[in-house]
Subunit: 383 residues, 2 copies
């Protein structure tokens, strides 16, 4: 079920042969309405893939009747011919569901710098349209996987309406530029402004704070489609919480399945002067290869955390910082605190808290450790 | 010879027992004048080690009569007691050479968050002072090594004067927060303004552009000491070139000995609108783990280069970028160019050129690949 749990949606997942593995590689999600309100956030990378360039045009209308997603090829750095391929897919889907190309969002993921096989793509879309059903959510979630070891899905129940979601990839984790693709569906009746506000706030606190290797994909897309089929106009705050909860659930699933990771690390920066300060410090730590290697080595190396914090412009006094690993305050006031021997980093979940003592704002960033398996997967991926 | 190649300098390197390995760990360099002009650049990390905090005070006088360097402990995040240890070292060296504490620069490198063994340090400095000689340069260069596999030294001959240098560590490469320490000596007669200008320009184009893992050390120090013993006042441009040449030589030695690296990568960004743009793009590529893993895997993955460039604010059109690996233009105008099969990445030296087609500025950044050995060394370092 999942993305087809809310009323008004049909989906399918099929094998078009774009993937060498022969696994499913085309997913189609159709919004049968009555409403076709949609909102989306895209990668902020300036080198955007063709499907992102196209889908940005679609989203200018603030509506979408369908989204077609393919794995097995990112259609990125493929020039005008690649854009034409994307546009043809949108046109084909539009024709099959009685809509225009401009109603169809397109997402692609996989290797970059190569053209998609157009005949296979066309045949696959035809097949996917024929298999659309209100039970197709799980099949769609399977078809968008690349190096994922399992599909990611989530559903939440609101007051008379539902929110469902599927995701693939490793998001901001961006292994091999594989893409974070997320589709969220709801049968709540919401207007375009509400959908946009709710989606932006939800992604800001979830997917945007997943920072596994600091590499930003060229294809990232998070799409919210609202069918209105429940007839229920939700309270915005409650609806926002539900969408954020689905995003958080999917983000944690992405984190747990990140390529090569041994540890899921939660970095909480507390008592910052501003949320932006807390975020800047959290991101700088999440991007420190030295810190990430240390966690892989089960070493509560707080010095590498302070050194990362020291590269930021956040407000704090270096000699006042406290740092805890899994609840043990190994650094107090910029000096050794409790014994590092007390810290046990054998579990997959690792908690780091950094106290800036500069205010009352905070932020949480999620990341992974840097492992041999990460290096292996990302050095061998395209060879 | 090296740092003692210029007239007016004595140096020594001894074993104080700060290192568990029992290898040399204290180096002393004394400037016998007649001039004691000096200039220095320090890490811009806000979380600075105690020796950096002290040495910044010394350099406010724009003179220095000696520098004492220890490996086997960074004296970083060690609070007021650690600062006191640094100050006591300066005072002790001053007493031994007939100068004040304020004349003595102190540098430390090694593990952080631990106090130095003061009795060992004191005895070691006493020993080092007794071994000072005009042939002690090589011994000093040995004593500052941590994970370096060999010492780094360079000498250049000017018109009637010399410039010598020694370096340790992996600089901006910053393995395990081990530090880049560089001491450059000259017997040229230069004033403080000239020394400062020349050193800043030289480091800007050499050590500052060495960016192996994006992690900034808490202890980095580059010190230039000018004895004036040759009696020759050099032409500033020629002197500047010589100092830059010594810095470049040492920087390349650091690059070649970076922990765990399989490849030395030169990233040249050309035809940028400004030098700052070229630098921003170069650094973003040098900090992409995905790019660095690809080079380790001998994969000319230009997509990861474009994706890194796309995260910057530099002026360029994404669809116009060209990228070459070892002279093969694998990407032309943001699309596949020459066959990637033509690129051979088996040699240690790798050249990447990115053409932004936006102006006539350029910049070069040096970095290393991301390897299993890097992960191993940095996950096992302090355990």
């Amino acid at each position: 079920m999942t993305i087809t749990a809310p009323l008004g949606f049909r989906a399918s997942g099929v094998t078009a042969g774009l993937k060498a593995s022969g696994k499913p590689d085309i997913a189609l999600v159709v919004n049968d309405g009555p409403s076709d309100v949609a909102a989306a956030v895209f990668t902020t990378n300036r080198c955007k893939a063709n499907p992102v360039l196209w889908s940005e045009q679609v989203m200018a209308t603030r509506t979408a009747k369908a989204v077609v997603l393919n794995s097995g090829g990112a259609n990125c750095y493929t020039g005008p011919r690649g854009f034409q391929t994307t546009h043809a897919s949108a046109e084909q889907v539009g024709g099959l569901i009685g809509a225009g190309a401009i109603d169809v969002v397109v997402c692609s993921t996989g290797l970059i710098g190569e053209q998609l096989d157009e005949p296979k793509l066309t045949a696959g879309i035809e097949l996917a349209a024929g298999k659309l059903s209100a039970e197709g959510g799980a099949a769609a979630a399977e078809a968008i996987m690349t190096t994922d070891t399992h599909s990611k899905q989530a559903v939440r129940e609101g007051e008379g309406y539902r929110v469902g979601g599927m995701a693939k990839g490793a998001g901001m984790l961006a292994p091999a530029l594989a893409t974070m693709l997320v589709v969220i569906t709801t049968d709540a009746l919401v207007d375009a402004d509400t959908a946009d506000r709710v989606l932006r706030e939800a992604t800001r606190l979830t997917f945007d704070r997943l920072d596994s290797d600091g590499c930003m994909s060229t294809n990232d897309t998070v799409l919210l489609m609202c069918s209105g089929a429940s007839g229920v106009t939700p309270d915005e705050a409650a609806f926002g919480e539900l969408v954020a909860d689905v995003c958080h659930d999917l983000a944690q699933q992405l984190l747990g399945d990140a390529e090569g990771a041994d540890h899921d690390i939660t970095i909480e920066v507390v008592n910052a002067a501003t949320e932006a300060d807390a975020l800047e410090v959290g991101r700088s730590i999440a991007r420190s290869n030295l810190f990430k290697c240390a966690v892989f080595g089960k070493d509560p190396n707080w010095g590498r955390i302070l050194a990362s914090a020291g590269t930021t412009n956040a407000t704090f006094e270096p000699a006042e910082l406290d740092v805890a690993f899994n609840g043990v305050w190994v650094c107090r006031g910029g000096e050794p605190g409790e014994s590092r021997e007390k810290v046990d980093l054998t579990e997959r979940a690792v908690s780091v808290v950094v106290d800036l003592k500069a205010g009352d704002s905070s932020a949480t960033i999620w990341t992974n450790d840097l492992t041999h398996a990460y290096v292996h997967e990302n050095s061998a991926y395209s060879t």
